[in-house]
Amino acid sequence: MFLSTLRDEFIKANAFVFKNWIMAKRNIFGIFEIAFWPLISFLSVGLLSDFVNLSSSMKGFILIGVVAMNAIQVCQLDMAYVLLYDIWSKSLKHSFVAPIGIRHILIGSMIIGIIRGGAVFFILAFLSQIVFHFNIVALNLTATSFFLSGLFLNAAIIGMLVSILVLLVGYKAEVAAWSVVSIMFLICGIYYPISILPDWAQLIAKALPLTYFLEYYRSFYGFKPFCSSVLLKGYLLLFIYLVLEIYLMQAALIRAKKNGMLLKLSE
């Protein structure tokens, strides 16, 4: 009984891996997302760092931020796409007629997001070593694992936020798939430490888990974090956001079923 339930859960979650995988590989923009844009942004920033003669540690500070940013962007897009593909094809109701739960959608899209986001991370890490002689991964593998898990869970909270907005306001929210993450990058210290931000922005940054994961990883490259136990605080914030968003997503789905948004997004 337990094994059968587990198998059922796995197959349902795998449906979303399958969907995102096929849709991404057949879509030219999917290839651009994973290869073209991350590469362009990484090389541009790296070359700019060379041009302005940044010290190797400062260059590393920025490259860590750029690699993290691209890995999160790709991973969160998969989480957002899981509903957006259905909405764009006007087939959303068919997915929700089936007896699936939010957990299947989240786990499935997260798996494919980790695969694609992880690919971006390691491609850029490899290029960082080859082109800019800066090693992002090999310094501390345990730290890299924690950092990556933090990045992917950050991507999950952004992707879920986009999905919640889509269920609440429909097509108008699809722009959030690209914009929410950019605002987060501005505040969390991708290219600079959060200490240079105005006080109010620093407060927001400290409420976002990504800030703590960037601080944690950069601490291995000689940058002192703005507070103690950054990793623990980062995970704690992630946990709070994930629980809150799972609740909100369930509420948004019920609302979409009440006000007919689910049907409207299928027409």
Binding site: A15, K19, M23, K93, H94, V97, A98, K257, L263
Partner: protein
């Protein structure tokens, strides 16, 4: 009698707008009993509430009021609702699926949503593609399919999970007549062989008459009538029209006829038109009555009332 679907006092109003709220009543106090293993038709014009009702049964829309029981389970208040939805599926006219996925990939995706293992789904997909004659399109992307093939894919998807209840929203809308006939045949096949209960919404009265054991007419969110097509026609006193042309126009037809089941009558010098409740019961009596008056019959034409007449009668 066991019911696949039992609906009581169901109401739904759509509210639009954030500041200026607009309300649109979609369904009002709907009661519905769909017996198991029947084909039940929901008929009505555009905007009558057919799709809203079907969507509520499918669980993708929640009602404001009322209860929905599917196979005896109150789907809005029972922990067994999930089990029920495992055995329901839906197909819509104007089919839409993931555009970059092929026919087989689309079917695989939806089969996975029902938890079907690889072996199970491969077997089932092959079987359904064969049945709906889409095997030759299995590697064609959805966006490259013709309307008819898209519709056949949509129907194949509706049978993936071996459902007990299939909801078909305008299953033959916009299709060529030959394709529509084929689809009706498949519906009949599944109904007969697998004892599946079907709820079909349609504009096509011939289709409803051909397929449905029972129908319901819905207008402006209200049920206007329900029952089997034959009793509905009787109930509405639409009857069958019998036109009789006379050979000898010199003999004057009677000014009145006294036959059972007579609904309406028009008498002319060379022919008469009568409306009776059931032509098969009244024709012999009518001929006897006319021949009694010395009239010789040249031609008889019978026009049975159909659901379209019922529909028009409500739409007036």
């Amino acid at each position: 009698m066991r019911f696949a679907v039992q609906i009581r006092n169901l109401s739904k109003t759509y509210v639009q707008g954030f500041i200026k709220k607009k309300k649109k009543k979609a369904l009002e106090k709907i009661d519905l009993d769909v017996p198991e293993k029947t084909i039940y038709g929901i008929l009505g014009p555009n905007g009558a509430g057919k799709t809203t009702l079907l969507s509520i049964i499918a669980g993708i829309l929640l009602p404001d009021k009322g209860s929905v029981k599917i196979f005896g389970v109150d789907v809005h208040n029972s922990v067994r609702a999930k089990e029920v939805y495992e055995k329901i599926n839906i197909s819509s006219g104007h089919a839409n699926f993931l555009w970059s996925m092929t026919v087989k990939e689309n079917l695989s995706y939806y089969a996975m949503l029902y938890g079907m293992s690889k072996k199970e789904r491969e077997h089932r997909i092959e079987e359904l593609m064969e049945l709906f004659s889409i095997t030759s399109y299995k590697d064609v992307k959805f966006e490259e399919l013709s309307t008819g093939t898209k519709q056949r894919l949509s129907l194949a998807k509706a049978f993936l999970n071996n459902p007990y209840l299939v909801l078909l929203d305008e299953p033959t809308v916009g299709l060529d007549p030959d394709v529509a006939i084929g689809i009706r045949e498949v519906i009949k096949h599944f109904h007969k062989k697998k004892n599946i209960t079907f709820i079909i919404t349609t504009h096509n009265m011939d289709e409803a008459e051909m397929l449905c054991d029972e129908v319901m007419f819905i207008f402006g969110g209200n049920i206007k009538a329900k029952g089997d097509p034959k009793s509905l026609k009787k109930e509405m006193k639409l009857g069958d029209k019998i036109h009789i042309e006379f050979q000898d126009t010199d003999t004057a037809p009677p000014t009145a006829l006294h036959i059972n089941g007579l609904i309406d009558m028009s008498i002319y010098h060379d022919h008469i038109s009568v409306v009776v409740d059931d032509h098969s019961l009244r024709l012999a009596e009518l001929i006897t009555e006319l021949t009694k008056h010395g009239l010789k019959i040249k031609r008889i034409e019978i026009e049975e009332a159909d659901l379209e007449d019922v529909f028009i009668n409500f739409a007036r």
